[in-house]
């Protein structure tokens, strides 16, 4: 009997297998037909996708207003830059270390402020991001190189003979990381943690009343989001070979905020679309020269007018009748 039992069709984001294979194939073949410039654009698209995914954990999943995410991104980038240039530790070894450093920083600064609500949390995270940036400019303990930043960062390697040093290799590195992150985040969305997060976003008081440790889950979201931003910082630092405070301004935090909202809160494919919009739009509209940001601002307003829920809004999880009978859960993400 086919009607009883768990649903056999595995879909991700409502896309069927053929579409997923086609997307995967396009991502793999793309760099072999594109010019180096376009591959580099695709690399930065990947960085923004990673940043969008990282803020999506905090803003999209839990609904915490975080306008200082560039601060975590900066911590990741500077951890990589300083440890690599001073001690020569290979970049890929520093990848998890940057994530841990950014996560630890998030734990330290967010613990005392986690009880703040809505816009007050927004302004405090904003202040935190600005404090990080100004601190980097002021060169504490002669570590961060002041306004010039740190330069001379290596190509990514594990210390062995294999070194990532061409645009194509960078492209694959970033998109493999993005792919792994997406896989992990889907698993997280369907887990106990993901459900607790969404519960807090929808109704914090009800979540608390049902016995969810709201503070713990909020803090966890900040730590994981910061860690992923730290990973993005690591890859960004090695691609540019230098980091400077002007890459981590309030503006960068705003862009990440827009990525999540343009894509759709809590929606992973939406965030990828949002990242594409933010990173590719200025490239595509380069012929407009000085008018392109004018168009960009208008496009943002129009997006919100016509698709206020985002380009690819997240569907509510639903348990189908069929799968109930089979005793297994099939959730649409």
């Amino acid at each position: 009997m086919d009607t009883i039992g768990p649903s056999k069709t595995h879909t991700i984001f409502g896309l069927n297998k053929t579409t997923l294979v086609l997307i995967f194939g396009a991502v793999c073949v793309f760099p072999f037909v594109a010019s180096n410039y376009i591959i580099d654009v695709a690399f930065f698209f990947g960085i923004y996708a990673l940043l969008g995914l990282s803020l999506n954990i905090v803003l999209g999943e839990v609904g915490l207003f975080d306008l200082g995410h560039a601060g975590f991104y900066a911590i990741g980038a500077y951890t990589t830059a300083i440890l690599n240039t001073r001690y020569g530790i290979p970049i890929l070894v520093l990848l998890p270390i940057s994530a841990v450093a950014a996560g630890l920083f998030a734990y330290l600064v967010c613990s005392p402020i986690i009880h703040l609500q809505g816009d007050y949390l927004l302004i405090v995270t904003l202040g935190m991001g600005e404090i990080v940036r100004i601190a980097l400019i002021n060169n504490p303990f002669d570590l961060t190189g002041g306004p010039n930043g740190v330069y001379g960062i290596d190509f990514p390697s594990l210390g062995g003979p294999f070194v990532i040093d061409s645009s194509i290799e960078y492209y694959f590195l970033i998109w493999i990381v993005v792919g792994l992150s997406i896989w992990g985040l889907i698993r997280l969305q369907n887990s106990r943690i993901g459900r607790a997060w969404n519960y807090i976003r929808e109704d914090e008081i009800a979540a608390k009343a049902s016995g969810i440790d709201v503070k713990f889950y909020k803090l966890l979201a900040f730590i994981l989001g910061a860690a992923l931003a730290g990973v993005a910082g690591n890859l960004y630092a090695s691609k540019l070979m230098c980091v400077s405070p002007e890459s981590f301004t309030f503006w960068e935090s705003c862009l990440m905020f827009c990525i999540v909202l343009i894509g759709g809160m809590g929606s992973i494919p939406g965030v990828i679309i949002g990242a594409a919009f933010i990173s590719l739009f200025p490239e595509v509209f380069r012929p407009f020269a000085m008018y392109r940001m004018l168009v960009f601002g208008m496009a943002m307003i129009l997006m919100m007018m016509y698709r206020p829920g985002g380009a690819w809004p997240r569907k509510r999880g639903a348990v189908s009748f069929k799968s109930l009978l089979g005793g297994a859960e099939s959730r649409d993400v």
Partner: protein, 303 residues
Amino acid sequence: MQIFFEQLINGLTIGSFYALIALGYSMVYGVLKLINFAHGDFFTLGSYLGYTVLVFGSAFLTLHFGLWGGLIVAMMVAAVSLAVVGIIVERLAYRPVYPAGRLPAVVSALGASIFLQNLIMVIWGPRFQAYPTAVIPNIHMQLGGIHFTMLQVLILVMSFFLMGGLYYIVQKTTFGAAIRATALDRDTTALMGININKVILFVFTLGPALGAITGIMVGMYYRQISFTMGWNYGLKAFTASVLGGIGNIPGAMVGGLILGVLEMFGAAYISAAWKDVFVFLILILVLIFRPTGLLGEKQADKV
């Protein structure tokens, strides 16, 4: 002690800039619960319009209105134009997004901010513009060993009158009561027969107009303006309004003045490079212990 008082005057001058801009943020937030990120750019646009009036109309203005008259004409032109711009932005960029909730409106506001900032760059160019300084004579004054300029006195007096006027409207008139009621509970206020659209129109007229006048004062005080300056002042003014308790109009004034004074004392007694860190740390500390700002009232959680 002399340094203390001089820094106090400097701080109050800058603080009154922040306070006047913060009022725009706070009024809009009170009525619509919207963080109007474009407000900083209203301020910049006002500054540039005043600049154009002062530069291109200088001969005509001085001939017909005198030095001071010219300045007042420039401020009025900028204020009226910005009131119109404020209404246009509200109609085109914000009103269609309100039904969707608060967060899409934030993105729309950021979009409007990018648009205005780049519009200013396209019209006036990306370079710094030197503000005409001949309007206000550069007179230094001294009182009991404390030095200050006439411009500072002028700015303080003007800000005092502008803030006093706004305070009067909001706290003492019937229409002000309608604004405060809207800030408390929009739906109930509408049910009581108050025209919410009029209140929205009012905050989007007066906020940008105050911003425009502040823009001209900032231009005269620092003698140069750039198309990106709205971002910085907007950030500080928004911080100030949260410090005082966002949505609360006296709170925005107090928050702005405190922020300016703290910044100047931080620069004088701690370190000029770390002054903004100092300001944000104070803000974070205030919010940890008083989560709704200095003058904000504690709200009970609604279930």
